[in-house]
Symmetry: C2
Subunit: 199 residues, 2 copies
Amino acid sequence: MPLPELKQSKERRQHLLRSSLQLFIAKGYFNTAIRDIITVSGVGTGTFYNYFVDKEDVLKALLEEFAEQIITSISQYYQVEEDIYERFVETKRITMQVFAANQDLSELYSRVAGASEPIDRCLKDFEDKLISFYSRNIEYGIKKGRFRKVPVAPVAHSILATEKFLLYKWVVLKDISQAEMIEMVVSFHETLAQGLLAD
Amino acid sequence: MPLPELKQSKERRQHLLRSSLQLFIAKGYFNTAIRDIITVSGVGTGTFYNYFVDKEDVLKALLEEFAEQIITSISQYYQVEEDIYERFVETKRITMQVFAANQDLSELYSRVAGASEPIDRCLKDFEDKLISFYSRNIEYGIKKGRFRKVPVAPVAHSILATEKFLLYKWVVLKDISQAEMIEMVVSFHETLAQGLLAD
């Protein structure tokens, strides 16, 4: 029995995304051509273009799903933890665990920055989504009176910046272990949280 | 009257560094060949290799001088400001002003990460130098009893990470102005300092 059309279409898109990610890691993003993706995934040329406009569009889709995965993991944790301090610190552990569990995507994210304008736009969408989410969570803590009234945007940026930098030290430089990466991110947020907590 | 030999040698090296930086910005680091540097700077091929082993060696020298410039600017400020809180926050303004005053070097630093192992090693030297310097300053605050006894390395990494990320938003993405970049970095450190200050 054939799959319903929508399900088939979603699976084909996922298959193209997975094949692309494998190629981006094996050959490097810049050395991967769309014809490589088509060959490896075994679809027709027309099929690729039914789903994606170009290679940047594939990168964008990969990062969009990645951001959703991080946000979903944090949102699920919020359902079991109500304390705002615990949330602030422990969600960083969860975020880094999602990065660690997706080493290929993490490496892609860490390596492609600054290379071209279309790529920077993809990264910016990914990062803006996370920064907005982090900002809303800090604003919630301020609204509840648990955090001081500090300018939120700089703090939200520093959270992503720290996660990104320690991710890069782990996945690109291999200068720290996965466990060290997670512990350093959590430790920093324990210190930062003391600066946020209302008296 | 000819320049003394040492001075002449230093000036030639500086001239090669300046020519290289111009080319890295105009053509991109990856599209610049050593023969371009030799042509633009007007020196003989042998002369280039008297000073540098390869292109990464030029990048390394540029970043080393840049790190020295940042550290010197902060050290000079330390001679006029003794208060540890003021130092912690205001040195970030000084750092970002040095980045802003060296837009070409800032752009080079923001664009080349993750591209290859030799480049990553150059960046790591630059970043490790700054992280060590930041760590020593936080340790000094702890020793003086002004800061709480927090794990220092994660905080030092978050400082550089935040500076680097907001630098990238200014110089690559052009998403924030130079003034916004500086204010966001300073604002974040005001919040973070509250987490560091001893009761």
